[in-house]
Amino acid sequence: MIKNYWWKILAFILLLYAVIYGFYVAVPETMIRQTMRNLFYHVGMWFGMFTMLIVSFIYSLKYLKGFRMDYDRVAIEAVNVGLMFGFLGIFSGMIWATFTWGTPWVKDPKLNGAAVGLVIYLAYVILRSSVEDRHKRAKVSAVYNIFAFILWIIFVLILPRLAGDSLHPATGDNPTPVMPMHLYPAMRTVFYPAMAGWILLGTWILTIRIRISKLRSRLEEQNN
């Protein structure tokens, strides 16, 4: 049992540490004051989403190579978990923005890019539901998924950086030192374990979703 559960326990320990020590670690005096602690939680949603999208992308490539339905299953379930993270990232960001910028949404390349990124993957889910034949669905959506991943990277990671003027940290020429590489050493001791914890939590949810999906198709086989 401990063989299968060790990384799930690790996820719990990492996140518990992040939730407790994340409130005690000293944060520097900046304009955003104590809200900088949101970094351990809000950014974790995007690390979680990006990890899930990478998994989905890899499994779509694998599907197109071997046409195994198991690969298609991983691709869709990873997008589902990724979308959960994405919406939590957007909503948590809106709360943070309300207190930092005075409004939940500013016309900002990073925010708009993240919203477009969500739409791209919602389209993936809709595309899948519109194809009846499951092999055709797997093939069409795997091809779309490869484009979706590239577009997501362009909209969320590249374009906001090129845009120049952005309020959101880690974009253009925003000097706010909250990116991991500029992180204050003390905050790093919480930031990196927290990111690992969020990614592991997403992986756990992903494995459960995959297993449920497998059970469902087993049942369908029995009924046919």
Partner: protein, 48 residues
């Protein structure tokens, strides 16, 4: 602690919620495991 203005109460609440979510996830995980075993036994009754 004084400078934090009883923030430890919030930390405790968050810790309890996080623990609750993980315990819940653990039970879902076990439930799926049980279903997997049931289906396996149904498909291969001789294995029992």
């Amino acid at each position: 602690m004084e400078t934090y203005g009883k923030i430890f109460v919030v930390v405790a609440v968050l810790a309890v919620i996080l623990t609750g979510v993980f315990v819940y996830l653990f039970f879902i995980d076990r439930k799926v495991g049980k279903l997997e075993r049931e289906i396996r036994e149904k498909e291969n009754p001789k294995e029992r």
